[in-house]
Subunit: 245 residues, 5 copies
């Protein structure tokens, strides 16, 4: 199989949609925000991503087991959301980034917006931006979002944006200030407010922080189970000593 | 060779059978239950699974050495049982899961039922379910089996179910409460009772717990030998220092 | 190259010979016994096995360097002996096992007999057997060799026998009680006596124990040299730090 | 994908240009010097290098995320600069070296000049040279640059030069004395002065040391972020225990 | 690319030459002796060996960077010398050995003579031999060189000789007693004297020990630089934590 495969499970009947990407990272901000969007906008599953290098875990939501890296669509909002509930292993970052961009181009996506977290610099009320073109940098600034002038960014967010910049594909990254805790729902709330400002997306957010805390609870539970499973595997492997070379 | 290969050794003359999968996991419940079914229903070997990444071990049963991951059939019960006596290495989980589902589809299997264990939550008398469709969730509930609404599940069980859910293939997982001991025959008994309820499978189970304890004894013995062999390999490798790069 | 290659260096002019396999394992019984057969029956080299994953060592016998995994034939006794002087690395066990069986079938071998060791259970005077078919189990029992009813067996011995059982190829394994020392010539003597009983092979064995001790001495010497070389490599690698990634 | 790929993003309209290569190494001299050239000569991006084995990081410069290994051109100066802001992983050194040379030959590059650092031997005011031909050695000496007569050189610099020497391709390496600190802008200044002497390149360098310190600051900041991201990944991976095999 | 590639850089106009192989090993005897031959017989470069698994280092000799594993020829002496200045990584030993033998056969080499070291057994004045055929064993003995009757030999020397023995290709190994220091020029001197006796090669050796000490000095210096570079890489990698997966 290819290093990362994107498998579609439903018709993709959108016209130049925006693709929002929410992968884990600081405070798991991206995943929490993307999950909130999927729930709130009643988005439908349209595909998933798999790789032999992804952790062998399934998330259970609403009684049904799901691959942890999934894609949803909303025809009403002409929107695609791509999220992962588990951290992308380092050696999958580059192949996943190019797989996402190649797929986005094939699907005639008009713009990619990544959501994520960044270490708190002030009072945790700000969202910073990066963009793949100078025109988009100006657009962000015009929306009151400070852009990062010099620095480094890592993971799928960073590599995907660099690919977009190299190929001239329009893409921005919105990074909410987040605390280095495992999850930070406040960061998710911040980044969704910024997303509304940038896209004009109409989404009721009066319950945003409360809901984000709900999403966080489910993810904490899920990650605890995953950790327990990891320890179980590890222990079993150790007991069989050299047999699991 | 492919990452995981399913090799058939006998004619597969069944008509849309149910495939029951019993792989190790918490309490080795799946393997114990599947072994009980194979013995009790006098099922015949029909194939096995191999991979260069599986541990190089053979189980000896009734004087004959066997690959540890095997497939059995019962024409009378229109049933296939797939079991493994050894924990599937992490990097084989995804390829094995898709190999099983691809094979099940090719063989026109009507439904996949995975048996496994879950950490005890109450008095260890319950079996929980997960299903690949909402219709099957209702069917489980109608049979008095609580389904897991939110959470995570790992290993072949989890990944296979997520694949089934994604492709719309009917599959359920029955998870008996089990103690985190190496093996838990009580969990195996619980899961088989649930299996009977769900499938209507007729199987005499008055001796179930006693037999499960027998199965457990053999597996403990086998695993002890495997561990000793693992240590032997490890020690020999260490003595030859850098020669086994 | 293939994971394991069997390279022939002489014509194979035998007619449905028995193939005796003596690989290292508990007490190195298999290797010592196989080496004794090759010497005593004046067998000729007919090939060798290589793999990029085998340790890069050559054994020196009678002034000539040899690959450590070799095949010999005796036209007179219609016999093939396959031996290795070094432990097969874990990740080569499965490919070597299938390579041996595929080769045996191609060469029209009539039966495979593996020689090995098993942890002493009584007074170290017994040889236990495993067989790939119930008919061979009976044959072993008829020759006074107890068979192992339930358990596990590892390494090439075990995996090869499971392959033979799956494909219905006649194969037995003779396992002498051996002490967990590095080598146990007494185990080798026991297993050869059992081999004579099972095959009717005529071989003078009055000097067996004495000769086995000789073989053991050479192997101890050879392994000491291999260990020293391993340490030398390891030290040189460490001194060059990160350069040997 | 190939182990290392060079991807062009703009027309390459130069005529037998000189290719200057500045990869990290002692004091990050090569990267600092190459970055200074790109800025000062207002060079344009012409491509980048990617590999699944490169660290998944993007550098942000002037608000735009960029792949850390990039290629620039200056039509005015008939010059190409190839730089990397991150250390090339050991297992990518050989494939990157041959990829660069193959690409240089395809693009009809007239000469490759690598910039780097070398441990301070005297008062840190000297630049040493290595060359791929004896004629170039003489040329270096004629320009007052001492050549290294005997020794070893490592990384892409070394392997690329050895490839050039083997194929008879003109290439030199200029190595400024540098302190084993993380970055040494003084070394970068030294090597650029030497580059001017060797190539006759006209470049205003009155602000060189001051500017180099600026470049250094940005790189320190970027590397700090990369390190923090690395720790974040590592921690998350450890928490999920055996799931990230 | 193939695991190991031999790349020729000049015409190979020899007629059934002897190939002398000097790879590192105990006391680096092989490399020192081979380097002495190349210098003393004014041999010309004819090719080099590369592999992605070789350490990314270039040796600098006489101002020019060179691949560390190289091949030289002398038309006058009808001789080829193959040497490496760095220890061959374990996983490259088998592919390099077969690459050398395949190349030697293609080039119609008449005999391969490997030079190396062996742990001092007496007063360090002896050279021991191994040979690929019994005729060559007798020839060695006739030249006063004791052969090793039983034992083990490792690395390219050992595996190459075993390959030669298996294929019936004439090859000998001359192993001088050497001290387990990093380098032992005295061992190199001993092995060259033996080489003269065995081949009748005319080579002035009055300055042999002095020259060998010179070669040793250069190699110590080169290896020190390689070690420093290795540490530099390691440190940089550690600082970037999980980013260099």
């Amino acid at each position: 199989m290819a290093p990362v495969e994107i498998i579609e499970t439903a018709a993709f009947d959108l016209n130049k949609p925006i693709l929002i990407e929410g992968l884990p990272g600081l405070g798991l901000v991206g995943t929490i925000a993307a999950t909130y969007l999927v729930d709130k906008l009643k988005m439908e599953p349209v595909g998933y991503m798999v790789s032999e290098k992804f952790p062998p875990i399934a998330a259970i939501h609403n009684n049904i087991p799901l691959h942890p890296a999934r894609i949803y669509k909303s025809k009403k909002h002409n929107l695609v959301v791509l999220l992962s509930e588990f951290i992308i292993p380092l050696n999958s970052v580059y192949p996943l980034s190019t797989a996402i961009l190649d797929w986005a181009i094939k699907k005639k996506v008009s713009k990619i917006i990544s959501l994520g977290g960044i270490v708190v610099r002030g009072e945790q009320d700000e969202v910073f931006g990066i963009a793949s073109t100078q025109a988009l940098v100006k657009e962000l600034n015009a929306n009151g979002i400070k852009t990062i002038k010099e620095g480094a960014t890592t993971g799928v967010n960073g590599v995907l944006l660099a690919e977009c910049a190299s190929r001239g594909f329009p893409a921005i990254s919105l990074l909410a200030e987040a605390k280095p805790n495992y999850m930070d729902p406040r960061g998710a709330a911040l980044v969704i407010e910024a997303l509304k400002r940038v896209t004009g997306l109409e989404i009721e957010t009066s319950d945003l922080l409360k809901e984000s805390v709900e999403v966080e609870k489910k993810m904490v539970d899920m990650l605890d189970k995953a950790k327990a499973a990891g320890r179980h595997y590890q222990k079993a492997g150790e007991e069989l000593g050299g047999m699991y070379g």
